[in-house]
């Protein structure tokens, strides 16, 4: 937030506060584990995630295939490890779309106020009038199915949330003395927005992004499960679960493990997000 160079500063302080909470540390551990899986998938996966072996389809867990094999005889563990990459990319892109479109909208809306704010907020209201995953589904109906479109759709669905959040955060900062001072010495609007308003409203946005990473992974997997996401044979957790769903009676492991992985990863981001919220801004604690 402040220009770098001074000691270890705020990041160290946040980590120190974070480390006092066991749940936040567990969350951090899960997130790191997920990142390692995603980054080093080719090194960690025991088998080729796309290699078919129909003779051994739906085989239960064994020493060689610890999580068993799926409906086409592929190694479920390897597919889950590779699936982490897709989930990571989905999460990062979704959040980037939300932040890069939503934050400027919210900041401009709050900074200029008046008519601009009114119009922007009615637009945000309209987007928020689509409950949950519905806006993403509508966008997919328009854009067509596919992984890229799922990311765009989920990303755009999060725009109004970031817009609201950054707006309220800027509104509370706008009246503070340092902003007044910047105005008084003749700083331009762009400079005030970029140098003062955005950096000082970052902490709720960081917390929200961590929690949104959880939502993004969850929603994208949901859309994959509905058959609206990746095209086969891509190893994506939601699509894997959808494939295994049909064999739930005869080979429940095919659907169980990808779902468990989604659950644990989402839990990790939620725990970390909760912990970050308490560490960055205790006032937001629920």
């Amino acid at each position: 937030m402040k220009k770098g160079g001074k000691k270890r500063g705020p990041i160290w302080e946040v980590f120190r506060r974070l480390s006092k909470r066991i749940t936040a540390l567990i969350g951090l551990g899960i997130v790191l584990f997920f990142l390692i899986l995603a980054l080093f998938a080719p090194l960690l996966a025991p088998h080729d995630p796309y290699e078919h072996d129909l003779a051994h389809k739906l085989a239960p867990p064994s020493w060689e295939y610890p999580l068993g094999r799926d409906e086409l005889g592929r190694c479920i563990l390897s597919r889950i490890i590779y699936g982490a990459r897709i989930s990571l990319v989905i999460g990062l892109i979704v959040i980037s779309i939300g932040i890069f479109i939503g934050v400027p909208i919210g900041v401009i809306s709050a900074y200029y106020g008046g008519r601009v704010d009114f119009i922007v907020q009615r637009f945000v209201d309209t987007m928020l009038a689509f409950p949950g995953i519905l806006l993403a589904l509508l966008l997919i109906a328009m854009l067509g199915v596919g992984l890229h479109n799922v990311m765009i759709a989920v990303g755009i669905s999060t725009v109004p949330i970031y817009a609201r959040l950054s707006r309220s955060s800027v509104l509370s900062i706008k009246a503070r003395q340092f902003v007044e001072a910047a105005k008084a010495i003749g700083a331009s609007d762009v400079k005030i927005i970029l140098q003062h308003l955005i950096p000082n409203s970052l902490s709720p946005i960081i917390v929200q992004s961590t929690l949104h990473m959880a939502t993004a992974i969850l929603w994208a997997a949901g859309l994959g499960f509905l058959g609206l996401g990746v095209s086969p044979p891509t190893a994506e957790w939601g699509a894997m679960l959808n494939g295994g769903r049909l064999y739930i009676r005869v080979a429940s492991h095919v659907a169980t493990f990808p779902g468990l992985m989604i659950f644990v990863t989402v839990l990790g981001f939620n725990l970390l997000g909760d912990g970050l919220r308490d560490a960055l801004d205790p006032r937001l604690k629920t």
Partner: protein, 307 residues
Amino acid sequence: MSSQYIIRRLLIMIPVLFGISIIIFAMVRVIPGDPGYILAGPHATKEQIEQIREQLGLNKHPVLQYLLFLKNIFRGDLGTSTRTGLPVTKEIMARFPNTLLLAFSSIFIATVFGVLIGIISGVKQNSKFDYLSMLFALFGLSMPVFWLGLMLMLLFSIKLGWFPAVGAEGLNHLILPSLTLGANSTAIIARMTRSSMLEVIRLDYIRTARAKGLAEKVVIMRHALKNALIPVVTVIGLQTGTLLGGAVLTEIVFAWPGIGRLLVEAILSRDYPVVQGVVLLVATTFILINLIVDIIYSYLDPRIRYH
């Protein structure tokens, strides 16, 4: 005062409804290709496409097209499904009651369990019960609803045989889907009730009630709960709306014949009139529920009306 509040609240609703209708109107016009062809479906004859072009005024100015679109909505005409050839209104009305039933039974379960767990956790802050239930609440928030549904089906239908796995014939069929859909809301309501309870318990009037020598039960049930539940009402309302949208995944898992499943089927087969109809219905219902919740809220907490 309160009627003024309701009128103001209704006025705010208008631009939002307007916005929704524009988005849905624009939807088929943003997609590359001729809207007449898109709305008539891939198997339509030339005459059918021409008929739809005529009906929607596609040769006219976009503003006129939009007004015609609104007029059709108000007449209850949402077009014809390209998949079944039936009127969209008919398709939706055949399914909507099922989704409402599922959403309301889920919110009922979520409210009963969520509020109860939240109160106990709040009153017994930092107890084992508190830690465990908040941990479970976090599990509930992180659980992919489609996976939970499958796991419940695996345990209770396939292994134990207590409930049927799919379909919608009776109360027995409703239990697993409702538990699945309600899990996430139970967690949210429990967390909200707990934090609201914790906030209220620290207030002066509770200290006064305790100082008067009232029994703890009376203090909690009669004094604290009333105020603590006010914000919870809002969350319950919001969750009811969210469940309508969230029912999509649950309906697919349990083959529940609701509008969520209808929507996914429509998206996969590019049945745009049905997509438009379902989205319009769910978004409007969501707004109405929010309106009702806000009005209830303003009665429960008179301060709101004076803002």
